[in-house]
Structures are given as C-alpha cells and as structure tokens.
C-alpha cells in the first residue's frame, strides 16, 4: 500500500509533447481511474508510473521516494495489461508465481499464495493449463491473479476489460471493485469507457490532449463538470449543448429563440454554451414547453426511451422513462429544470 505523487510530469516523444504538466496526489488505498478518449496519454502516464517509459520532466514519487530513474523492478507495483501479456510457455500456476520465484520466495509460501489467489479468482481448476487453452475471461483472471499474488504497493490496470464481451465486462467490473475492497491496495485504472470510470473510481482523472481536465469523485464530474470536454465525455447519452449569447438574463440561440437562465447564473457574458443532460430534459407536447424541436428518431432501449431531436440546427437528445413518448409525433417541446443547467463561457470553462 502506498501513496503516490505526480508533480508537473511531462512526456515528449521526439519533439511531440504527449503529456503536459500532470499533477496528481493519490492517497493510500485510493482507486483512481484515468479516463479520456483514445490517444490522450493515459497509457503513457501509467507506463511512466510503472517505470516502462522514461519521464521527460517532473517527478513521480511513491511513498515519498522519487521513482524517476528506478527500473520497474525497484518500484514494487503490479500491472495488468490490456493484452494480458501472459507468458505463453508457462502454466497458469507458473504465470502467477513468476514474480515470487524471481524474489526467491520459498516453495511452500509460493504454493500457498498461488492457491489463495486462484481460489479467490476461481482459477483453482485451471492451474496446470497453458494460457492458449483458456478463454478470454479466464486469461483476464490469470492476469489479475499474477498481480495479486505479489501483494504489491500498488496496482496499475491498462484497459484490462476492453477485450471482453459486454456481459463479462460487467461481471469483472464488479469483481475488481470487490477485490479492491478486500485488498485495499492503491490502484490506478486506465479506461476510455466512462461507465467503467463512473462505477469503479473513488476519484476520476479526466484527461484530454495530454492535459488533466478535471479530478474529482464520479458525482463531482457528473454534477459539476469543469469544462465542455468533461461535460460531454461523462454521461451517456452525452450532454446536450446549446450555443448562443448571454444578455439580459437570457441565452439567445443562433435561430433567435431565447432560453431564460436562472438567477444564479451571470446575466450578461457574451458568447456561451448552455449544457443539459438528456435525462434532465422535460419533454412536453409541442407548444407546451420552453422550446419546440422536431423529432428525428425514437430509440427505445427497454429501460428508457431516447428521443433524437433537432433544436436550433443541432442534435439534441432526451432520455425519458415515460412510454407515452414512444410515438411523440413530428414535434415536441422541451423544458429545462433550472438546477440542471450548466453554463460554459467562450473558453469552454464552467461558470
């Protein structure tokens, strides 16, 4: 178990800067999820923490010791790879015990630890198999097992579930959460899937273009996104945005229509973007709400209905659980509860 500190860390590949001024403090036993679109630098950051990638600038500390030039072997952390990276020529038991054998742990201890881990992960019947004789889900478990037998200071996960089908992913997500509760080890988990981030994290680190966009609890990011990127990235379906000008306490849309803003928001600020989540929009028959919109598509998902609308020339989505809206007609009206509105300035920052 460990605390970690990342101090103005940056990374260049050649002349290209892929991470810039990353700062992060991680508490003992915390489960941190790095989330962001593909290519934003999540894996690079994780691999720098692991010691697999050189640190161009800044400092990474584990338990107050600077790790910058230490090889992976000296950092006492375990990592689960997206590809699982199981050793193909070793049995499941040998895969799991490799780290212990490298540390010259005595045989009985190894057997006992591998047994404990394999029981925990339901692998005890597969210990003699080679990785190629395992299903994807079983391989994933072996990769987890290899990490937990060591009882390392910290766990790193790089998109460990992205090769599994949806159902298995859901199941493993719950198991990872449970494992973390049992082991209580500091964990950093990388994913591009915001649902995984929301369900697993104690705190989420949202990343985009090599920068940290926001750090906070899942509900922080959902309720008070710091900028347009986080607002659009967290939540599914994504937040709706209405662009316009704010003056006299109203937002004037590009088509001239107006949306009244609550008094808590600035009355005048020029160019701005108003955001509202699809699940917070209130649908009503045409003419009976704040704004009318044309209906393009009705998408029943079983537990809800997603209405795809066109509003002021842009796509606008509504998520409702009222089956009345399965056949809404060509146009409907939408209203916005004032407390569910998010306002962003011309730079995209929350106001």
């Amino acid at each position: 178990m460990a605390t970690m500190e990342i101090r103005s860390v940056s990374k260049n590949y050649g002349t290209i800067r892929v991470l810039d001024d990353i700062n992060l403090q991680i508490g003992d036993g915390e489960f941190i999820v790095l989330v962001g679109p593909s290519g934003c630098g999540k894996s690079t950051l994780l691999r720098m923490i692991a010691g697999l990638e050189e640190i161009t600038g800044g400092e990474i500390r584990i338990d107050d010791r600077v790790m910058n030039t230490l090889p992976p072997k000296g950092r006492d952390i375990a990592m689960v790879f997206q590809s699982y990276a199981l050793y193909p020529h070793m049995s499941v038991a040998d895969n799991m015990s490799y780290s212990l054998r490298l540390r010259k742990t005595d045989k009985p201890t190894i057997t006992q630890k591998v047994r404990a881990a394999s029981v925990k992960l339901g692998l005890d019947a597969l210990l003699e198999r080679k990785p190629k004789a395992l299903s994807g889900g079983q391989r994933q478990r072996v990769a987890m097992g290899r990490a937990i037998v060591r009882q390392p200071k910290a766990f790193l996960f790089d998109e460990p579930l992205s090769n599994l089908d949806a159902r298995l992913r859901e199941q493993m997500r719950a198991e990872i959460r449970k494992l973390h509760r049992e082991l209580g080890a500091t964990s950093i988990y990388v994913t591009h899937d915001q649902v995984e981030a929301m369900t697993l994290a104690d705190r989420i680190v949202a990343m985009h273009g090599g920068h940290i966009q926001q750090v906070g609890t899942p509900l922080d990011l959902y309720d008070r996104p710091a900028n347009l990127f986080v607002a659009g990235f967290i939540g599914s379906p994504g937040m709706n945005f209405l662009a316009g000008d704010v003056a006299g306490g109203v937002l004037r849309l590009s088509d001239g229509r107006q949306v009244a803003l609550p008094e808590t928001m600035p009355a005048a600020m020029g160019g701005a973007t108003l955001g509202i989540r699809p699940e917070h929009v209130l649908p009503a028959p045409a003419g009976q709400g704040a704004l009318d919109a044309t209906v393009d598509l009705v998408e029943p998902t079983g537990h809800g209905i997603i209405l795809h609308l066109t509003l002021a020339g842009a796509v606008f989505k509504v998520l409702t659980h009222d089956r009345r809206w399965l056949s809404p007609g060509p146009a409907i009206a939408v209203s916005f509860p004032p407390e569910a509105l998010h306002l962003f300035n011309a730079e995209g920052l929350r106001v």
Binding site: G51, M79, F81, L86, H89, Y98, L102, R150
Partner: protein, 277 residues
C-alpha cells in the same frame, strides 16, 4: 462439390510430389552412384538403379582416405560458427527489435551493405588481414570469417522473430521483478526458439557447404574442411566418382541429423519468420 474437392486435393498432392521428386532426385543420384561398383558405372548406361550394389566406396573413404579428418574439421567449424553466430545474432536481433539508440539506422544499413558484395571480391583482403595474425590455415580463422559473414543476415533473421513477440511480455516480466536480461532469457528466448533453431540451421548449412574461403585460406589437407576435401577425389587423370559420391552421402548425415533435431521448432519458424532459402 465433393468431386471437385477430391480433385483439388489430388492435384495439390501431385504438385507437391512432383516438386519433392525434382528436389530430391540429385540426392538420389548421389546415393545411386555411391553404391554402384566401379566396373558397372560406365558399362551399364543410364539406369535408375545398378544391377549390383556395393559398399566398397564407403569402406574405402572411411578407412583409407583423409575424409574422416575433413569431416571432423567441418563439424568443428560449422558447429562453432553456428553456435557463436546465433548467440551474437540473438543479442543483436533483440537490440534491433526493441531498443531505440543513436545510429541504429546506420548500423542496420551497414549490416545490409556487408551482404551486397560477392564473397570472391573479399577473399584477397581477408587473406591479407588474417595472414599476419597467423589465422590462415587455421580452423579458428575460418570460424572467425564465417561468423563475421553470417552474423548480419542471422541478426535480421532473429530480429524478425523478436518483432513477432509482443513487447508487453518482457514488460510484464520486468514489472514482475526481472531485469531486462532476465526477462530476455526467461521469457523472450524460450518463445524465440523457432527463430533460434532456424538461425542455427541456416548458419550451420551455410558454413558446412562454404567453399571459397575454405579453399583460399586453408592449404594442405591437415585443416581442410569437407567441401575442399571432396576435391582430393579429383586427381590429375581421373575423377573417382564412386568415392566422391560416398563422401558426399556421408557429408549429408550431419546436416540431416541437425535438421531432424531442430525440425520441431523449424516448422513453426519457417512460417513465422520467412527464412531466406
């Protein structure tokens, strides 16, 4: 449907058979001549198999010629060359596959350049270099030269095999607590065995059949390798085909044994790394 499939299979097999026949026929002829008694060699005309066979040629070659010494020399030279070249090529191939370092492009280019010259051009300079070092007329000298000429291509061969092994594997090992060399030895090398086998085989056969340097750097029969030794069966007035072929058949044995030994790995290797023929 089934009829066309059966026909397709038959045609496929027939083509393979035709190719194997074509490739193995010279070897068959070698064997045939080696067991043909001298008096029947010219008198019987062209026949697939002589009316009488004999092992006299083999007996003579083993007992009365210098062939056993040539054979032993060849075994020492080829075996050592294969071993040393493969170790060097494995290390070099790994570096080329995994590391970024200054001058890597130049190094790879230089390695390629060494492959562009016909060996004949280099015989004289090599002789000039080795002679003051006392390495002419010595097996060590031959091993040195063969190793130098085989390592570049063998390195590219090994690099191809290492490229096929995901870097995640040694990174996982390094996180598990191995240093890079341990990860290479315990994780990557076992997975690259087909490549190691292919490289060993390639270098061994190249050295086994090499003629130009063996001929130029070695004088006399004391240090001669087998391809040069074969020439001793060509005398001023005649060629003793029977003995020559018998020696040839014997010379095939180690190569066959060697490939038998590594073929388990080689079959995977051929498809994985595309061996230069």
């Amino acid at each position: 449907m089934t009829a066309t499939r059966i026909f397709g299979t038959l045609a496929h097999r027939a083509a393979i058979l035709a190719f194997i026949t074509f490739a193995l026929f010279p070897l068959f002829w070698l064997l045939k001549v080696s067991v043909t008694p001298n008096d029947l060699l010219y008198s019987e005309g062209v026949r697939l198999w002589p009316s009488a066979t004999t092992l006299d040629h083999f007996r003579f070659v083993l007992a009365n010629s210098e062939f056993p010494r040539f054979f032993a020399n060849s075994l020492i030279v080829s075996g050592t060359t294969a071993l040393v070249s493969t170790v060097l090529a494995a290390l070099m191939g790994y570096a080329l596959s995994r590391f970024r370092f200054r001058g890597k492009m130049w190094l790879a280019g230089l390695l390629l350049v060494t492959q562009m010259f016909p060996l004949v051009m280099l015989v004289a300079p090599i002789f000039k270099i080795l002679s003051p070092l006392g390495l002419t007329n010595s097996l060590t000298g031959l091993i040195l030269v063969y190793t130098a000429f085989n390592v570049p291509f063998a390195s590219f061969l090994m690099q191809g095999f290492f490229d096929g092994i995901p870097p995640d594997l040694e990174q996982a090992a390094m996180i598990d607590g191995a240093d890079r060399f341990t990860a290479f030895r315990q994780i990557i090398l076992p997975l690259a065995l087909p490549g190691v086998a292919a490289t060993l085989g390639f270098v061994f056969t190249a050295a086994w059949s090499e003629m130009i340097f063996a001929l130029m750097l070695i004088s006399g029969s004391e240090k001669a390798t087998f391809p040069v030794g074969l020439l001793t069966f060509v005398s001023k007035f005649s060629v003793d085909y029977g003995q020559m072929m018998a020696a040839g058949v014997l010379a095939l044995i180690p190569a066959c044994l060697f490939f038998l030994l590594i073929q388990r790995y080689l079959v995977q290797g051929m498809t994985a790394g595309a061996v230069k023929g």
